[in-house]
Symmetry: C2
Subunit: 386 residues, 2 copies
């Protein structure tokens, strides 16, 4: 694949942003990406925007709306919607387009507004990304789906509620050091374990917060990269996959095969494997999702994700730092923005801009985004020059 450079990246603060519209948040993220690439005029060859469209302000044809009034207006603009993996798939489209030689400079965006929706409306809409033929009709929501996965993981592998709580504690510790994060307070293991139950065995701190936010990435061809930045981050692998929507159609309840397949495809064109990765932003919509991801991606052995979290294997100083940004769990999960938001963390880490959560000596990273409970998945592998 023709090399693709990540020349800049920016994001809005994730969280309850009051009356701000999706476009306000996109503009905030866009401004940060512009500031980090002063040479960039704001013009692009093409744009892909991932959004599920909860915000409601411009649910259809919104890609054109987001570019309206920017120097990028007039460029072909696509809205991509793959549930919570929307902007990770937007990124894949941009990378393929640059690889084709037809596009030299592309923007990938991700946006969602969710807090200004009523609770009932939000719950109804969230469901649309899950299986509608059975799960949604039966009243099953995402906390319920992941609770079943957690139970199956506990039963087969002996994973405990303490293991889950360790994931939450780490997420909040990292999030406390991330100015973009919704939750910037550390929590104790005791607090996590004592929290109200949401869907047993998942408690309040096992669940991410669906929220408001936007992220913007600037991607270029290798040839054009020097015009936009001094030190590009390189996208070296992209893999994606689709699978059954409903859990009952899949062979496993306690793993996400789409993750494993997407990762294999992402690594296929590289000389790298899971053990070469220094840090990863994985799709931790629930603590059990991070534990499954560390196994499905090959960072730890099958069934050992819970223990690894408890032992610090996935924390700073461990074998692979998972979710140094605080993850969806502490940074917040504005569905369409989450995939691109993960890549903002890669940019910040590789540009020494991650402050107190900086991963020491990192040169290789991975981002992992899941749509629904694993019906779609995209994995990207990143490298910086040393």
């Amino acid at each position: 694949m023709r090399k693709v450079a990540l020349a800049s990246a920016g994001m809005s603060r994730f969280g309850d942003r009051g009356a701000l519209t999706p476009k306000d948040l996109f503009t905030e993220a866009w401004a940060e990406a512009r500031k980090r690439a002063p040479q960039w005029s704001g013009a692009v060859d093409e744009a892909w925007i991932g959004t599920v469209g909860f915000g409601g302000h411009q649910p259809g044809n919104s890609a054109a709306w987001f570019l309206q009034g920017t120097p990028a207006q007039g460029a072909p603009a696509h809205r991509v919607e793959n549930a919570c993996a929307s902007s990770a798939f937007a990124l894949r489209n941009a990378a393929l387009a640059i690889a084709s030689g037809e596009v030299d400079v592309a923007v990938v965006g991700g946006v969602e507004v969710m807090n200004s929706f009523s609770r009932a409306h939000r719950a109804a809409w969230l469901g649309v990304s899950g299986d509608t033929e059975v799960e949604r009709t039966a009243g099953l929501t995402f906390p319920g789906v992941y609770a079943m996965m957690a139970r199956a993981h506990m039963e087969e592998f002996g994973t405990t509620r303490e293991h889950l709580a360790h994931v939450a504690v780490k997420a909040h510790r990292n999030g406390a050091r991330n100015p973009h994060a919704q939750f910037r307070k550390e929590i104790t293991l005791e607090k996590a374990l004592a929290a109200p139950e949401i869907a047993a065995p998942l408690g309040l701190f096992d669940c991410c917060s669906t929220t408001d936010g936007a992220a913007v990435l600037l991607l270029t061809s290798a040839e054009k990269a020097p015009e936009y930045c001094d030190n590009p981050v390189w996208l070296v692998g992209s893999g994606a996959t689709s699978d059954d929507l409903a859990l009952h159609d899949r062979r496993y309840l306690n793993r996400i095969p789409a993750t494993t397949q997407a990762a294999q495809r992402a690594f296929a064109g590289t000389a790298l494997g899971a053990h070469d990765i220094d840090f990863a932003e994985v799709h931790d919509c629930f603590t059990i999702a991070e534990i499954m991801a560390t196994e499905d991606l090959g960072f730890v052995s099958r069934g050992e994700g819970g223990l690894a979290a408890a032992q610090g294997v996935t924390d700073h100083g461990g074998a692979v730092v998972v979710n140094p940004s605080g993850g969806l769990k502490a940074k917040g999960h504005p569905l369409g923005a989450s995939g691109a938001g993960q890549v903002v963390e890669v940019w910040e880490q590789f540009n020494g801009a991650a402050g107190a959560r900086q991963v020491a000596d990192a040169t290789r990273a991975l981002t992992h985004s899941v749509g629904g409970s694993g019906a779609t998945c995209a994995v990207h592998v990143w490298e910086r020059e040393t």
Copy 2:
């Protein structure tokens, strides 16, 4: 750009399909595409599905849902939503991916179910693809938007209601010869002119019917094409653009600049121009839209689209046959399916499968798809080997 082959194409019948779900219609289109490429196993490297999601059955993450149960399940699947141009943008993504060398075999789909929605629901949802900040809030619907365009065209260029009616008569004549079309009855000029007013000066026969339908395209690299078909149609140009959503933000009321720019980009990499095109499927959501398209695409001079339609310039035997399929007007307009549906007509024409509506000796074609009232546009140029 690496050459891209259209190896097969199929569609469902467009029209009121009762209780059929989006997946039922997709399956119907898929089956026709499979039948037309018996060598194809149904497996693909990647898939892009254009749908606005009216059907409601699986509004989020639906690309994975459409592939579920087909041999393509497991392939990366993207939902692309750019209003009425959704599957034309899905096509562009597939073409860029094949051009990159990362993908050899891709499916492009388009799907919409609209008739089983209540009228109120349909009107509310249709609006979401128009400008929401002013137009939709003010109660302006698409017939109103295009009526304003028609008025401005009449005022500046002397276009008449008879000119509009000629477009409708031609559409119904072609549609009557298309087994996939919703409306298979010819109409007279008198009938068109006597029809009830929808939004003056547009009458009933000036408006397409938003409806149910699906289309599926099989695209491959040039290298792989011989494995899938004997005589591929070649995609030789792709251009797309974005623009302001609301009419009042644009310089012209009586043209769609996004069309002109997309066409320029589509022709840019080819040695071809508008006058090399033998037939075109253009976005005639209203008769005035076809008239503007013939001008914006360069088939006729500015302001002469109405007269050209009346004089048969855009009919069989004329300089360029516009909408031999019957167009959105007579074939029906299932939003997300329309762009891909246009390409099915190209496949049928170039494979001598267009029956009584066959365009004689055609070797070059163009497809043109508009999102909203021109906020997004994609144009593709096609050639067959002679």
